[in-house]
């Protein structure tokens, strides 16, 4: 009887292990895709991607698809690598890259020149980093992956990253639409509108409230100026 139970448990463990392996995209698939561009510093890029696997909500599948799409784009390899490097730097800094990957997809679909795509991604990268630092400086922190927050200003990393992503994207859209960083109030309204639309949908209303309690229009102007300078 005991032997029978051990057999069942063993079988279940093997099944779970199999599921876990198939759920994650193996690193060698990225390596193969990177060869298709091809990139010079493949090890550094693979290292960054491997680091990303440990981050919550890491869009591995989309990133692999992006590399494949970049590989198929008729452009110098060095330009394609530069685009990809902006994203891998963001991964190394622990920033949420979902918005950058989406922006890259859009740029490729619109057939924008690689240099313009790189600049666009660079701007978003700076915004992500600046907004995260701004939140930190205002006492809004992220708890580790899966951690339960014990204080109102220590948010689970998934929720914290969503805030960083949507504030950054709102500023990016504002600047891309020709908005001036010096129009603090307009810039603030753009961010306010975005977060308000998403609160209760994918953003926690308490998180949104916390942001508006601690961030003012001039903070956003400072961030926007850093991104465009």
């Amino acid at each position: 009887m005991i032997r029978h139970r051990q057999l069942l448990v063993g079988f279940a463990l093997v099944l779970l292990l199999g599921l876990a392996v198939t759920a994650e995209i193996p690193l060698h698939e990225f390596e193969q895709a990177l060869h298709g561009i091809p990139v010079n510093d493949i090890d550094a890029m693979l290292g960054a991607i491997e680091l990303g696997f440990g981050q919550p909500d890491f869009p591995a599948e989309q990133l692999l698809r992006l590399i494949d799409r970049l590989a198929g784009r008729p452009a110098p390899a060095i330009e394609k690598e530069a685009v990809l490097r902006v994203i891998t730097h963001a991964i190394e800094e622990g920033l949420p890259i979902e918005g950058m990957v989406d922006k890259a997809f859009e740029g490729l679909a619109r057939s924008v020149p690689m240099a313009q795509l790189e600049n666009g991604l660079q701007q978003l990268h700076i915004l992500l980093a600046e907004i995260r630092d701004l939140l930190y400086s205002r006492g809004i922190f992220s708890a580790g992956p899966g951690a339960q927050s014990t204080a109102i200003n220590a948010l689970p990393i998934e929720r914290f990253n969503l805030l960083v992503l949507h504030i950054s994207e709102a500023i990016d859209s504002y600047l891309s639409g020709g908005g001036s960083p010096f129009e603090s109030q307009l810039l603030f309204e753009e961010v306010h509108e975005r977060l308000t639309q998403l609160q209760g949908v994918i953003l926690d209303p308490m998180d949104v409230e916390l942001v508006f309690e601690r961030i003012n229009p001039s903070d956003l102007t400072q961030v926007a100026l850093t991104a465009v300078s």
Binding site: D102, L198, G200, V201
Partner: protein
């Protein structure tokens, strides 16, 4: 005395006259009704309706009540028929209202009128900016696609025979990206708490 005799004479005369005319008076009512019916013009349905709706000095409220009651009956019957039809042919493509699944995913309808187009597609953040084809099965120039989306914010644009069209009339807002317009839809607003 003279007066009494005169009254008796008058009564007897009237009785005799009445009895003599009894046969002619008996079916008078029926004959009058028949005569009126024969002389009345026969109204067609639209003449009857016009007469019913014509302003009169009489009870206008009564007429309105009759018309209202008739309309209510038609409405009730129509709703019954249509609900049966919709139940038999239910399709999310027929509605602009998103249909929400248990996991929060909604079937979102994308619609674009493009009369002379041969190919219409939608690209956006929900499909990694890869084309999802719209269809125009009845050839009326209205192209549609129903795409399941989870709650969130999505940027997108249409491709009409390869030309980009970023301003969907049904969008919640528009943004500029790489110098071009994109449409934006928010899915799940006013929905469940996070």
């Amino acid at each position: 005395m003279t007066t009494d005799r005169f009254e008796d004479l008058l009564r007897s005369t009237l009785k005799a006259e009445t009895e003599a005319a009894a046969d002619r008076i008996a079916d008078l009512e029926d004959r009058v009704i028949l005569e009126i019916e024969e002389r009345s013009p026969k109204l067609l349905w639209h003449e009857w309706l016009r007469q019913l709706l014509a302003p009169t000095t009489g009870s206008r409220i009564g007429q309105l009540l009759v018309v209202g009651a008739t309309a209510a009956v038609f409405l009730f019957v129509g709703m019954g028929i249509s609900s049966n039809l919709l139940r038999n042919n239910a399709s999310p493509r027929l509605s602009l209202q998103p249909v929400r699944a248990a996991d929060g995913t909604q079937e979102v309808l994308f619609v674009l009128p493009a009369m002379d187009a041969e190919n219409v597609a939608v690209v956006g953040s929900f499909n990694s900016w890869e084309e999802t084809q719209l269809s125009d099965q009845d050839g009326d120039g209205i192209w549609t696609a129903s795409i399941p989306l989870s709650p969130g914010r999505y940027e997108y644009a249409f491709l009409i025979d390869g030309r980009w069209w970023g301003q969907d009339p049904l969008a919640d807002e528009y943004v500029q990206s790489f110098g071009e317009f994109s449409s934006v839809r928010y899915i799940g607003r006013g929905g469940d708490e996070v």
